[in-house]
Each structure stands twice: as structure tokens, then as C-alpha cells.
Amino acid sequence: MSQIENRRHIGRGPDHQEYGGRRIREPLQEMRPLKTRPKQPLPAPSDWTFELIEQYHDVIRLTAERYDLDTYANQLEIITAEQMMDAYASVGMPVNYRHWSYGKEFISTERNYKRGQMGLAYEIVINSDPCIAYLMEENTMAMQALVIAHACYGHNSFFKGNYLFRMWTDASSIIDYLVYAKNFVADCEERHGMEAVEQLLDSCHALMNHGVDRYRRPAKLSLAQERARLHDREAYAQQQINDLWRTLPRRADKEADAQGARRFPEEPQENLLYFIEKNAPLLEPWQREVVRIVRKIAQYFYPQRQTQVMNEGWATFWHHRLLNQMYDDGYLTDGMMIEWLKSHTNVIAQPPMANLNPYALGFAMYADIKRICEKPSDEDRRWFPDIAGAPWLPTLNHAMRNFKDESFIGQYLSPNLMREFRLFSIIDDEKEKEYEISAIHDDAGYQHVREALSRQYDLSTREPNIQVWNVNLRGDRSLTLRHTQHMDRPLHDSAQEVLKHVARLWGFGVHMESVNGKGDVTRRWNVPAPAH
């Protein structure tokens, strides 16, 4: 199978600005000064107009440029609440293929919204180039300014700068790819029936979280290349599969060692959808393409799932910084300030004992890094000798670019912040009758709490580790998956249902075994081959 994997590296490699290449521009050490102070603040009515949005956007942009925020071009779109719900329903993307689950999403969003149980988000921002930001019609002018600063400069610069997004997503082609996906799925519905496509998508969605590459860098492809390769790929993949399942008799002497030696896949594989796309014996070419589409989209969202705290924190930090700077420069009136600060305060609220709010934690961490740079205490100098006293702008930039939640927390969570949040860690052991407090925010516990929190954001501990273990090539062609338990945590009961979906894709029986830390199989699941 190695040829196929090699083919995935065709395409644009990292350009001269990335990965050890020389940077043309030195990072900015501190904010550029304001050229001229405005004579009077920007008008501040509560209703927005297009001219006002443009005026505010200009000032926000200039302020962001003074901080050297590197962004994709911005495209602001004004939408209604209903359109916002439409966007919600298709995972926030402007186009997507059709599926009942998005209908379900829309119905429940609409219902909750109409009952007044939930407000809609003020904005949605799409990681694309140009970066599309939706502004809701209902927002006041102050909210629009907040949203522009948050989405168009915060999120946008994160999308462009963070290493995970650079590696895994291609902002310039995602919209094209979704259009392609939508048309392809619609076409399949027409040719093969809605039912067949729906079942296939259901099964793919069940495995979506296990359909991402975690370590390889995919090639970037344009829409045209994608199309051109489709045909090629279908034919080639089919040939590979035929090869794998060849039933021609072999010579007797080779048979003996083949049986002992050949194990397939040779090494366990963690990308279940990729494995199925390339190896499932009975899938038709169009089905393989649909699997691939779901896999690609899962991959596109993979960085977002790993950078929740960082991404939201960064955007929140920057809307706070930019708008405050504008106030200091004399652009914003007091009324505006109070209005957006109220929303800001709601966003970063952190109720005690509840789940950590990513906005609150992220915002506090960036602000704390800035504090460590500007006014380090002795403790900070001990914990962060390399950044204490350094210029904050490049330090923050470096933090945004080169980490994900797990490593970001592991690197930058300071004792000061742990005290502020009063963080503590609890161990819940099935075998014990009581919870145990393993560490709190004190000298003995800082290190432990930080590690525990960092682990909490590690996707590989949040999601069960399930890999393709073996395929019974000579017998019933059944597929065996293996779940490696993390801290002896068992799988959720839905596993049986998910396995049925795996069996539908694979076409033959599917088994799964759950292995604990000692290497003993503690539980097995079996799903028979689906009826053909």
C-alpha cells in the first residue's frame, strides 16, 4: 500500500516562509505608534449602517496593523437570524452536502431559538481565504465592532498563523472543495438513491473522529487537480483492492510462509476511514469517494478541535486589546466601551466547579503571558526564565503559532493563573469508593495540576484509541479493531452501534477487542457481516 501513501505527498510543499525557511520579516517587537489622534470619537448610535461598519472596520484594521496581526483578507457578510441558523445547521460552513443530521440540527436550533432558550452566536467565522465572517443583522453597532475585532482579526490571524491550521487545512480551497463535495453527493443521490447515500454518510459520520491523519501532512490540492485525480484514483484503488483479494491459487510452498508471515495491515492503522476507503473489499468507487469526502472534512475540522482554548482565547484577547487601544486612542465613546465590555464579561464568565470555559481560560492565559513579559514576579522568573521580561508581542505570537491546547497549557499555564482560577484536580477511580483530590493550587501541586489539565485537552485521551488491528485475509475477511484503554477506561455503550456502521462499510464481519494497560483483552464485540 505504500505507493498510495507516497502519492499523497504530491502537491505544494511548505513554502519558503515556513518550517525553517527564512522569514522575510522580523516579528514586530512592540506596537507601532498612532500617527494622528482623531479629533472626535467615531459616531456611536446603537443601530449600525454599512457606512458605520466600514468606518469602524477601517479603524480596527489600522489598529490591528499596528500590532502586526497577519490575516487573510476579510469578507464581512451581513446575515439574518434565520440564515445564521442555516449556517449552524451545516456545521458553520456556507455550503455543505445534504444530510438529515443537519436537518435535525437546524430544527433543534430553530426551536430553541424561537422559545428564547438560547441566543445565537454573534458571529461565525470560516477558515477560508478570504476569511468569511458572518455578522448578524440583530447586533448593535458595538456588537458589530466587537465581532469584527474578534473574528476578522482574532480568529483570522489564528487561522493563518497556527501551525496546525497551516499543516492540515487549506484555506484557499476549502469552499471549492465543499462545493465539489455537495455536488458529488447530490449526484450520487440521483444515481444511487437517497437511501443508499444516507446510510453511507451515517456510517462515515460515526467514524468521523477516527478518520483523521494525526501525523502525516497531506498534500494541498486545488479543485481542478482534485477532479483530475478522481478518475485516476478510483481506477487505481479498485485495482489495489482486487489485488488484495485475489483468489487465484498460489503455489503451495509460498502459501505456507505467506500464511505465517503476512499480516494485514502490517502495522496497526489509526485512520479508520482512510483504511476503509483504500481497502474495503465491496465498496463501489463512488462510495469510496464519499468516504474520502467525509474524511477530508473531518481533517479540515481536526485543528479546530485541538485548539479550542487557544483559538477562542486568542480572538478574545485581541478584541479586548484592539478595542481598548481604540478607546485609548480616542476612537470609541464610553457608551460603546460599556456595551461591548458587558458582552465580553459574559463571554469569559467562569462558574466555579463547572467545566472550564475555553474563552475564559484562553483569554486569561494570553493576558497572563503578557503580564509575565511586562511585569514578571520572582515566581514567574523561576517558572518562565525565557519569557519573563521579553517583549510581549513576539512572545504571544510565538505562543499562538507553535502550540495546540495540550502543549500550550503544558508550556504556559502559570502558578499565578492556577491560583486565580483556584484549579484543582480530582481522581475518579472506579475501584475506589471516594474521589481523591490529587493536587490543588499550591507549591506542591502546580506541576501536577498543569500536567493534568494539559492531558485533559489532549484529543488522544479524550477520544478512545481505536486502531485497525487485523484483517482475516484467508478466511471470512472479517476486520478486527483494537481499542487500547487509556487508564482502564472502557468504551461507551454506543460502541456496538458504531461497529454496525463499520460492518456496513467493510461489508464483512467486524470484531473489536478492548485491551487494558496490562495487555489483557477485557471485552470483545462482534458484529456479523451485513446482509448483502
Binding site: Y102, G103, K104, A206, D428, E430, R462
Partner: protein
């Protein structure tokens, strides 16, 4: 400026996810159907055309993914510690696992175990309702137009009855005519009068002048006479309000629902009958602005009841169908004059009747009811052909606006219905 742009998408159309909604409904067709079925049972036949809430158990909507379950060892970090120190032990809440402490799954089980509820729009509801009746997507089959006339004003005519005389118009015409006819005479009269005044000014002594004066005065006299002779009002001046008769397709209809509620009519049969009545009602609503529905139920005696009692009350005992027909006639005579109302009759029964009564039913229909009705349809919701069926069969063909069919299953109702009304539709 080229770097940034603001696009107003608000007019770009909503309902982008309508396709997703369709797929969602299609997937949960069974639950939706069930909800519609229940709604049909519960609703009055007059308010069938509205939406309905559909409940779907959450578990039917779940999209399973691999996830961690309860158990094993977990370590969770939480904010807001005010009382604990390292090494503290806290009792777990009873009932095993550590709810409320869950890190990963908290978000997707946040809403509790209520049913997933959504609203079916009116159109979607009717769609499902008709789907259930094996209706090929059409719900507006035409019934024959009712020949009812209404008179309308349509300008003025020169001919009509005195009651329609339009006085102002007529007088205006007369005035015009008088002015027109007298114009030349009055012009000449004015000239003559001027001439007369001139002549008199010159002096009356001269004989030539005197004769001229006399001549002019005679002429003036003649002209005055002529003007006076023009009639003040002439028959051609008269204008009448014109009224034309236009056919009006809609007006009032009354629908009689007759149903046997004797012991042999079980819930399923009543449901079948109800669907039949609903369909008839829906067809009539396409056609008449105002529809009244009269419910008559009968066993050995007939009784006019409200809808609730009609469909849901249970009775036992024997069956005398004619009692209902008699009552229907009485009600027509009392309240629904056939000249003002389009009368439709729909009768549903399982065919059971006291055997001496069936002949009388036929006679009642032919002699009394059918002449009053625009249409009378009989549906038998049971297979067995008994004497009522036989008696009624004699009417078929003889009377054009009587029809009868059998329906055993829900899906048969619509074809039966279409059958029943085809004749009528074809005429128009």
C-alpha cells in the same frame, strides 16, 4: 478598500437547509406518520389543515460515535476550589459513576432525555396525511360547479324596468338633449331679438321699418314656440341600471355525516369512516366558502350530535339505518333549504341493518333525500354484503348523483373517494 468588503446577504434567501429538513422527515417517516395518524384521530374534521408537533424519542436520533464510558481511572481539573486540600477524599454520589464530573461527554448529553420535538408545517402535514391515503399528490380534484347565480351591476342600459330607473342619469341626458336640439333655434332667436331692438331704435314711423318689426316679432314668436315644443323628458333619455347575472361557483354547502355507531362499528371502522368524512370535507372546502357539517349518528334511533360524540362515544345495540335518513330529511326541511344550500350526504356503515328496514332506506333515499341532495355517497367499511348493500345497489345507475363503495383499509379510502366523485367531476 479592495482588501475588505461587506456583503449584504440578507436577501440571499434563507431555507438553505430545507433539503436537510426533507431528508430528516424522510428518515423519520414512521414517527411522522404516527403523529399525523394520532392528530387525525384527535382533531375535528374541520381543523384538519394545520401543522402538528411531532415527538421523536432522542435515542432514535442518536448518531453513535466511539466514546469513553463510565469507569476506569479519570483525572479531571476543575476551577473554583475553596475548601479542599491535597489528599482530601470526597464520597461519590450514590448510583455508581461520577456524573457531573464527566470531562468529555458532558456536552453531548446536556439536554436531558426529553423527546426531540419539532413542528410539522401545514403543508407537510397534509402531504403526510394524503400520503397515508395513497393519494397521488393531488388534493384539488374538481367537483362540478354549482349553478348558482348572483346579479351584478354592469353599467347602464336604455331599457329596463322602472324600478331600475336612474333618475340623475336620465335627467342629465334630457338636459343635454334639450340643449342640443334647441341650439340653432336659440341662436336665431338671439339674432332676431337684437335685430328687433335695432329696428325699434331706428323708429317705428317708417312703414318699411314697421313691417320689418312685425316680421321679426312673428319670427321670434315662432322660434319661442319651437323651443317650447322640445320635450322636457323623452323616452330616449331614460337610463336604467343594468344588472347581469353571473354564475358564482362558491357559496354555502352543508355536509351531512351519517354513521352507524352500533356495537359492530369498532374503532378501526370508525377511523376509516372518519377519514372518508375528512376527505369529503377537504374537497368541499376547495369549493365552498362556507360549509356546515351536521353529524348524525344512529343505532336504532338517530341523533344529531357534536363531532366529539360522533366519533368517540360508543353505543351498542341494533341498527335501524332509516332513522338517520329520516332525521336528515327533517333537518334539511327545518334548516337547510335546498334553494340556498348545496347539500351533500355521506353515509358510512358496516352494512348491518335490521333486515326489514333496508327497503325503506332505499325508498327514503329515492323519494325524499336524493332530490334534495347534490350528491350522496355511501361507504361500507366492511366486506360482507348484506341487505342494505343489496338495496342500495339498486339505486346505482338509476340515480346519477348516488354512489357507493366499499373500503376496508386506510389506503383504499382515497381511491374509493376518487371513484365516487369521478362522475361528478367529469361533467364539469
Amino acid at each position: 478598500m479592495s482588501l475588505q468588503q461587506i456583503i449584504d446577504r440578507r436577501l440571499a434567501g434563507k431555507n438553505k437547509s430545507i433539503g436537510n429538513r426533507e431528508r430528516f422527515l424522510r428518515r423519520h417517516k414512521e414517527q411522522v406518520r404516527e403523529a399525523v395518524r394520532r392528530a387525525v384521530d384527535g382533531r375535528g374534521i374541520r381543523d384538519m389543515e394545520k401543522g402538528e408537533d411531532v415527538h421523536i424519542p432522542k435515542r432514535d436520533l442518536s448518531e453513535p460515535v466511539f466514546g469513553h464510558g463510565e469507569g476506569g481511572v479519570r483525572e479531571v481539573v476543575r476551577p473554583g476550589n475553596t475548601e479542599h486540600v491535597r489528599g482530601d477524599r470526597i464520597a461519590k454520589p450514590p448510583g455508581g459513576g461520577g456524573q457531573g464530573q464527566g470531562g468529555g461527554q458532558a456536552s453531548d448529553s446536556g439536554e436531558g432525555d426529553d423527546d426531540f420535538v419539532f413542528h410539522l408545517s401545514k403543508e407537510e402535514f397534509m402531504q403526510v396525511f394524503f400520503d397515508d391515503l395513497a393519494l397521488p399528490n393531488l388534493q384539488r380534484t374538481q367537483l362540478a360547479d354549482t349553478p348558482e347565480w348572483k346579479s351584478h351591476r354592469a353599467g347602464f342600459t336604455s331599457d329596463g324596468t322602472p324600478t331600475n330607473l336612474h333618475v340623475v342619469r336620465s335627467m342629465r341626458g334630457a338636459l343635454g338633449r334639450r340643449i342640443a336640439l334647441s341650439a340653432s333655434a336659440r341662436r336665431e332667436l338671439r339674432e332676431c331679438e337684437t335685430r328687433l331692438a335695432l329696428l325699434k331704435h331706428e323708429g317705428e314711423e317708417l312703414p318699411l321699418v314697421r313691417s320689418a318689426i312685425a316680421e321679426t316679432e312673428a319670427r321670434i314668436q315662432a322660434l319661442r314656440q319651437r323651443i317650447r315644443n322640445i320635450p322636457f323628458l323623452d323616452p330616449i333619455d331614460l337610463r336604467f341600471r343594468s344588472r347581469v347575472r353571473v354564475p358564482v361557483p362558491t357559496s354555502r354547502a352543508v355536509m351531512f355525516c351519517l354513521m352507524d355507531v352500533s356495537g359492530s362499528m369498532d374503532e378501526a371502522r370508525k377511523d376509516l369512516a372518519k377519514r372518508f368524512f375528512i376527505l369529503l370535507y377537504l374537497f368541499l372546502t376547495r369549493h365552498y366558502e362556507k360549509i356546515e357539517v351536521v353529524f348524525i349518528r344512529h343505532h336504532t334511533q338517530a341523533q344529531e350530535v357534536d363531532e366529539q360524540n360522533f366519533f368517540h362515544a360508543t353505543e351498542t345495540g341494533g341498527t335501524v339505518v332509516s332513522s338517520a335518513l329520516v332525521l336528515m330529511e327533517e333537518i334539511i326541511r327545518a334548516r337547510y333549504s335546498p334553494s340556498e344550500w348545496n347539500i351533500y350526504g355521506a353515509q358510512a356503515s358496516d352494512g348491518d341493518n335490521w333486515h326489514h328496514d333496508s327497503g325503506r332506506c332505499r325508498e327514503l333515499l329515492t323519494d325524499k333525500l336524493l332530490p334534495l341532495c347534490r350528491y350522496f355517497a355511501y361507504v361500507q367499511v366492511a366486506e360482507a354484503e348484506q341487505n342494505l348493500w343489496e338495496e342500495y345497489s339498486k339505486l346505482v345507475g338509476e340515480v346519477p348523483h348516488f354512489a357507493m363503495r366499499k373500503a376496508i383499509e386506510n389506503s383504499e379510502i382515497y381511491p374509493v373517494f376518487r371513484d365516487l366523485f369521478r362522475k361528478e367531476g367529469a361533467k364539469s
